[in-house]
Symmetry: C2
Subunit: 364 residues, 2 copies
Amino acid sequence: MSAERVVTLEELDFLATGAWILGTGGGGDPYHGLLALKALYAEGARVPLIQADTLADDAMVGVISQMGAPVVNLERTADPAMTMKPVVMMERHFNRRFDALMLSEIGGGNSIQPFLAAAKLGRPVVDADTMGRAFPSVFHTSFAVGDLQSYPYALADIRDNEVMVMRCENWLWNERIARKILVEWGSRAFSCKAPRTGREVKDWGIHGSVTQAIEIGRALHTARLRHEDPIAALLTQQNGRALFRGKVIDVERRTTAGHLRGVCQLEGLDDNRGEHYSLEFQNEFLVGRHDGAIEVTTPDLICVLDSVSGEAVGTERLRYGQRVTVIALPSPKLFLTPKGLAHTAPVAFGYDFDFVSAFPAAGI
Amino acid sequence: MSAERVVTLEELDFLATGAWILGTGGGGDPYHGLLALKALYAEGARVPLIQADTLADDAMVGVISQMGAPVVNLERTADPAMTMKPVVMMERHFNRRFDALMLSEIGGGNSIQPFLAAAKLGRPVVDADTMGRAFPSVFHTSFAVGDLQSYPYALADIRDNEVMVMRCENWLWNERIARKILVEWGSRAFSCKAPRTGREVKDWGIHGSVTQAIEIGRALHTARLRHEDPIAALLTQQNGRALFRGKVIDVERRTTAGHLRGVCQLEGLDDNRGEHYSLEFQNEFLVGRHDGAIEVTTPDLICVLDSVSGEAVGTERLRYGQRVTVIALPSPKLFLTPKGLAHTAPVAFGYDFDFVSAFPAAGI
């Protein structure tokens, strides 16, 4: 991978497809963001992608995301001007220009948001994020695992409301404060998290995740062009595992405290005929139960894909009758450490059981 | 009134007594704040009180209050260090020292909060506030009536959480954002509102309200020493009107969205024997009904006093059997203008009827 290159127009589709899969059901559909980014590309914008290890130790990196309940994003299009707002707030606060922007989460629509701001502001994007997937809150990030400072961070809405959280007690309070404001704003806010030094990004970022998403998307698109099974291609490329093939027979879903929570029931098809699968989610899929037994949990990536196209199915898009394949992809290594698991295993979501991996060989 | 004088130790008791009456049931009991301020006076602190008209046009004035549900304040003592926090945040933000501090509301505990910060920081307090009483939100302030800019404002809690609201769409959004954060923090926050210029304070402050509170307290204390009726003394001094004398027979009370809402029922005694009175409140008393007919509403000050001592009874302190006297005091003139009424009449609290004054001669 060269130190800096431009993300091409063709790769934007790959990025959106791959990021939606890495979203593990959450992060929101990247589609609206993709349209907005393509419009900027049509106007001539091109966003450079740089590798984290090329950052100067004292570089200042802006960490960008859109926060909210994915269901709300079904109804609201993406707007680069909104994504920019908290970036500009933060630069004004520090009276310093960000050297680069990076992703808070590669999973779902937040894969695109930093590119929108970068295209408008003429900045590079770092090939890294803080989750390697999507997760419900900042508590589940690599920067929280690293106990980096959680403040200041900037929040803006589509009106003229702008908030800077100057200090917070810890990452949980960071999330609690942001979540309340977000809900009051209609479950959508634009955020620029605590700025990171180049050193911090090098030490604690999840590296290569933009490239990973692009490569996943490329594998799927290529397999489909060749009339090959896109899911098989993805599993081979990413060392993933197919867990279940079936159809959706029930979805329970409720939006609470700015999150989408629920459970999805699947009835087996093909090799899984006569079997049952359930998937519990909070924005993202957290727990998979095969005939009642826990087979996989967070931080493994649990992804639900359309069985034919291989495209991701988000938790807000699940509906009766869909033919889907449940797969698992390996978690970033950082989340498999004891400290990482404290932030991302089922206990971090209120469950009373430990991490169950679909990849026991990885050796927890 | 001289341009600047020091508030004496004796006057602190008067201030607390008078402010609690001007709180119209809300603003929170000043008692904890009074103890904290007396402790600072015991250490030698003395707070200068200055008249608004002595402020330079370009002076920068900090507007201080504690936000929250009064019931919470029954359980939490006052801490000058907490009151200081948002002041320091704001001075850091503007890189400028406040020339003076002023009260957001004279009613209740917020009469004392700016004195705590002023005593710690060595600043004068302006003899003015933005309500002339207590009200539930910043929408009900003279600065909102004046359409002054509502941002930036600073919020801090008793942990290590600090928020700067940099912009807000309008005064209602200012309140909505602050209220959500406040509730998440446990219905108590310390705030420094949008800084005001000396010119703005001169044009839009409610002037003389600190002195008014001290004078009310002095009248009550003096009458009691002389074994005279303290309520009669207060009504004479403030051109108030006694509306009802009775005992509390029922209180409905609930804390919702950081406010204390409810209704209190009174049964008549003495001249009002056989009659009934009800008082609806949202932190403060908003509507008084005499035998079912609306007799008085906000923005008139509706105060409930202990029939013997004349001390205020807060909405969070009402209980069965209390002997109380309901009185009305005239509203600041600003709130009687059409724009003022839009912010403070019953419609501003969700009622569908207009202002009913206990002082019809004032000519609305």
